[in-house]
Subunit: 331 residues, 2 copies
DNA sequence: TTGAAAGCGATACCAA
DNA sequence: TTGGTATCGCTTTCAA
């Protein structure tokens, strides 16, 4: 068990050929002509030794690693995001790249960029919040071809994937107004990790409400029954609520029922995410479902472009969301 | 932008010293004595060039990568798992290792092991299902010091982290019987990804039920109202249900209410996970909370042991779960 | 206190 | 059709 891992030289010796031949055979390089007999000998030797190439050595020699880093603390959890990641992984590995999630210990800016750059990845995907101009420069100078920011608005400094939270808010508010609501509230979670997204959803809702002349109040809501109950006068004052997401909608519906406020009779309610619980609530919850099925292939294609061209790309963005309203009973 | 990334040789030249000195300074090796003045010059040169060391080259030279791979499709999603991962990441990076999630494109067995082995990680954590004996052998021969299986029971072939689903079922069943239930049912999700865990939870419940002379029926339940309604005769026949988890419990409570079955009057109900929705349901849901707070440091310590010792470890296991019953109104 | 140079494993050029 | 060998970036021994 202390034997060192077999190298291509070991394979070469066992097969009675040179290291170069081993490399040709194992990567079957189109240019090189090797007899079928030697091919076979090499393959067999590699098999017998349990040879596995050394990615680091290959990277060193070729200058390209095929590694694509995605920062794990920027990937929201939940089945939706996980499914997307799996699909992205599949798309990228089909193209010969290796997707890995690397958190970089909650670092941001230049320190995070340094940690990532050590691995000499060919692309880095990270939350827009961790990629300032200098961080992008560090990555670029370490040879990273594609730097992509993930966030709610496009980055001025690099290409980005924009997740359109404002559009969700707009859709929800528009629906409430269509249903006849004359004063609406939009929930912004008080939880630090969620507040920013909440504000983006709010801004979209506000835009639509203003355009249509409906007053909108912002409700900063911590996720607890007491928190929701403390805002009871808000819920009583409006006739429509965009609850940020389905979990908050459930919280509100529970508190409103306990307080004797009828949904949708007194106040109409819209959630977001179309979680399983949405159809289990009574009344069943109207919600915004986000269709991200187009995102993985879109992103993979864009990455491939970026990785293959020489110059760094203009800061543009792709916008692969498609929010859809699912109307049920709560609105 | 086509300039190649700066190397330690570039730094050396700019600082007017040798490559060796750069290495000494930047890793501040205790053995080597370098004057403060040269230290400063080297640091400044590195800074000016934006030098970032090349992890692959270092690995090649030292033979150790510091990379720890965890297979991403074996990490269950949800805030609990994410928090655990973050903590594990922190523990490991504090010890100088780099934790990376790598899915290996849904491979298993030897092909997955090869993919991982290319990166020459120092440890690999993966679902017990993807690590057969040969896969472990491949990893070992590629120099991976610690191979740890993640699963519901301990592996015969390598060290493992055992997540004690049976214990959850046992706790839930014991509680129901304590409350006076005389016939109970345990839900096993029909969904492929969940069924196996469901069966482990079931087995624990069954063990306790048998020991205490209470009949237990298995209920294979797809996550839908129709599915739950189709089993109505089961729910009517028993006076206690362990619902697998909180989501399934909510599903059942909805369907039972619609069918006029009272909880906990006619049937007592226990969930698992202590999700936020558990306190929002009416009646509030009794559930099993899983305390994994001890796991990250335990696992990190064990990994460190394994990585530092020479011989591969005996297949032992750590068992870092601590299920706790949270009694509310549904039971 | 610092430098020269060997070597880690794989690739790719140039010869044979 | 195959082999020899320089090279990638870094660490580390040995000399100076």
């Amino acid at each position: 068990m202390n034997a060192k891992p077999p190298t291509s030289l070991d394979v070469a010796r066992l097969a009675g050929v040179s290291q170069a031949t081993v490399s040709y055979v194992l990567n079957d390089r189109p240019g090189a002509r090797v007899s079928d007999e030697t091919r076979e000998r090499v393959r067999e030797a590699a098999e017998r030794l349990g040879y596995v190439p050394h990615a680091g050595a290959r990277t060193l020699r070729t200058g390209r690693s095929g590694l694509i880093l995605i920062s794990m603390d920027d990937v929201p959890y939940g089945p939706l995001a996980i499914g997307m990641l799996e699909e992205l992984d599949r798309e990228l590995s089909r193209r010969g790249y290796t997707l890995v999630q690397y958190g970089a210990r909650r670092l941001r800016g230049v320190p995070a960029a340094r940690a990532w750059a050590e691995l000499r990845p060919v692309a880095v995907l990270a939350g827009a919040g961790k990629l300032d101009e200098q961080a992008v420069a560090v990555l670029r100078s370490a040879g990273v071809k594609a730097v992509v920011a993930l966030g709610a608005h496009s980055s001025a400094v690099t290409a980005s994937v924009v997740v359109d939270h404002a559009g969700i808010g707009a859709l929800a508010a528009g629906h409430l107004i269509d249903r006849g609501c004359r004063t609406i509230a939009a929930v912004v979670p008080a939880e630090p990790g969620l507040r920013e997204m909440g504000e983006h959803r709010l801004s979209g809702a506000r835009r639509v409400a203003e355009a249509r002349g409906v007053p909108l109040t912002r409700a900063d809501l911590p996720f607890s029954e007491e928190g929701a109950a403390a805002l009871l006068d808000v819920w009583r004052r409006v006739d429509g609520v965009f609850a940020y997401n389905d979990d908050y909608a459930m919280l509100l519906m529970t508190v409103l029922r306990d307080a004797g406020v009828a949904v949708p009779g007194d106040v109409r309610m819209v959630g977001c995410d179309d979680l399983p619980l949405a159809t289990l609530l009574r009344p069943r919850l109207t919600t915004v479902r986000i269709d991200v099925s187009a995102m993985p292939s879109l992103l993979a294609r864009r990455l491939e472009e970026l990785m293959e061209q020489e110059a760094p790309a203009e800061p543009d963005h792709i916008h692969p969301w498609n929010p859809v309203l699912v109307v049920r009973e709560s609105s």
